[in-house]
Symmetry: C2
Subunit: 286 residues, 2 copies
């Protein structure tokens, strides 16, 4: 997915949101806005949106001196979602189709995205509601089938907090089939994306092999990934890609990928022919 | 009202919206974004937001060669709202308090704002709903009282289409008191704001003396207004200022002004301590 012109004002808004999060100093906030504005004329729209986001967040880190502005918010999301783990485990276990319930839950968790919405609301009621709602795009049958024949699965994580629900989905996948599962996270803090620290904090290492993808983009930019990550990507029978960032970076790749995400912006809304806020479980078609 | 940092990404979004409206050429759209981005570092936040909007729209006009991108949309709004005129005249006449009903209607008409929302929805049902809803900020008693003792009233118009509802309010004011009423419009096309052409098109000249304010800002920037306009402003007993632009430009003026508007952005929402979409009838306090 290339970058659209509409993404550009959105990057500027995100930059200001983060700057405000990091500092109350209006001069510093203004400096962030000015610096991001000044690179706009040089940006190539052939880049994928998360690649530009990566550049924007690096500018913010340089100006504010803060490499991890969402550190506290991330920990809070992990802790909060962990307290919900037993409750949702039970809901999934009692569901008519536990794998479908866990999939919907994992998609609902994708609402915890501080780049698009810093007030994502009550995650518990959002998740409960998601369990009772149909999917916006529904390739669940193909998803279930793909798990049924896979021996290696690569799960591309997205945000902190959300990864607790990813864990529940991985546990359900394990009940269906005994297969190798790798859970990939970002190499360094970016926005509120999960890193190794977060994955281990919520116990993902008990149910999957947790690896860094080698890149600090808020996405899976293959050209930036480590060779270990690429080997896993190419050898996996099924890839689960969570969130818009992973979708934006892999939407053109010829690979058996299932995209699980919430639609959070008008560009993705238009490309997927769906609606803002919809829960998407979409098989890659190239 | 000074410009807030949050206004800056919003100007860039507006610039892109207009550029897309004017041309399908992505290179031209990009040029608009780049040019607006490049002036961001030089912008003084001591300017009022509509002053910056004025600069932004001039850049767009220069690059696209189109000085009036909303010409068709404006005419359409005028025509559509004119067809609703008899229906709403009757609703107002049958209301318990016709002046209050006409005020609510005039505020509802302020939803026709192509800078903040190019899809403002069904104006008829929005206006009907507004008649049944309370005001978000309600200085109606002071407003009625002020009309009761005024001999000269200056009404600062805002958008095309909306001006039909302004006409209904002016007609109700005339039923309460026989006074001089001046209806001021922008001097040249800017966004979808009303000009002399529009005011005369919807017959405003039958109920008020229509004048240009002498400026092409989407607001009433006194330092840009003609001497005729300033004379009227200073001599008026009551000023009615429609819309956010007029509020942003006059919120610090010591004058008997009543602001009638819909809240359309988070900055004004915060300053007025109200909520997005609320109908505001607020007496100036300085």
């Amino acid at each position: 997915l290339k970058t659209y012109l509409e993404c550009i004002p959105c990057f500027l808004r995100q930059a200001l949101d983060v700057a405000k999060k990091v500092t109350n100093n209006e001069d510093t906030q203004r400096e962030v806005l000015n610096s991001v504005s000044s690179i706009i004329p040089t940006l190539s729209l052939d880049l994928r949106p998360p690649e530009i986001a990566q550049t924007v967040y690096r500018i913010i880190a340089r100006i504010t001196g803060n490499e991890d502005p969402y550190q506290e918010a991330k920990q809070q999301a992990n802790r909060l979602t962990l307290t919900l783990y037993p409750y949702f485990k039970k809901l999934v276990a009692n569901a008519k189709d536990p794998l479908l319930a866990a999939s919907k839950l994992a998609i609902a968790g994708n609402v915890i995205d501080l780049a698009t919405d810093s007030h994502y609301g009550d995650i518990k009621s959002i998740a409960e509601q998601a369990l009772d709602s149909p999917l916006g795009l529904d390739d669940y049958e193909e998803f279930r089938e793909s798990i049924g024949y896979s021996s290696r699965l690569l799960y591309l994580g997205d945000n902190t907090g959300e990864i607790v629900f990813d864990r529940i989905l991985i546990e359900e996948i394990r009940r269906i089939r005994d297969l190798e599962i790798y859970f990939a996270v970002r190499d360094k803090p970016i926005i509120n994306d999960a890193t190794l620290f977060d994955a281990i904090y919520i116990g993902m290492n008990n149910v999957a092999e947790v690896i860094s993808n080698g890149s600090d983009a808020p996405a899976t930019i293959l050209s930036q990934c480590s060779s270990q990550m690429l080997k896993l990507y190419h050898s996996a029978d099924t890839v689960i890609a969570k969130g818009q960032g992973n979708y934006e970076s892999l939407s053109d790749e010829a690979k058996n990928i299932f995209f699980l995400l919430r639609v959070k912006c008008p560009v993705v809304e238009r490309l997927l022919k769906t609606k803002m806020g919809e829960a998407i479980l979409k098989k890659q078609v190239v």
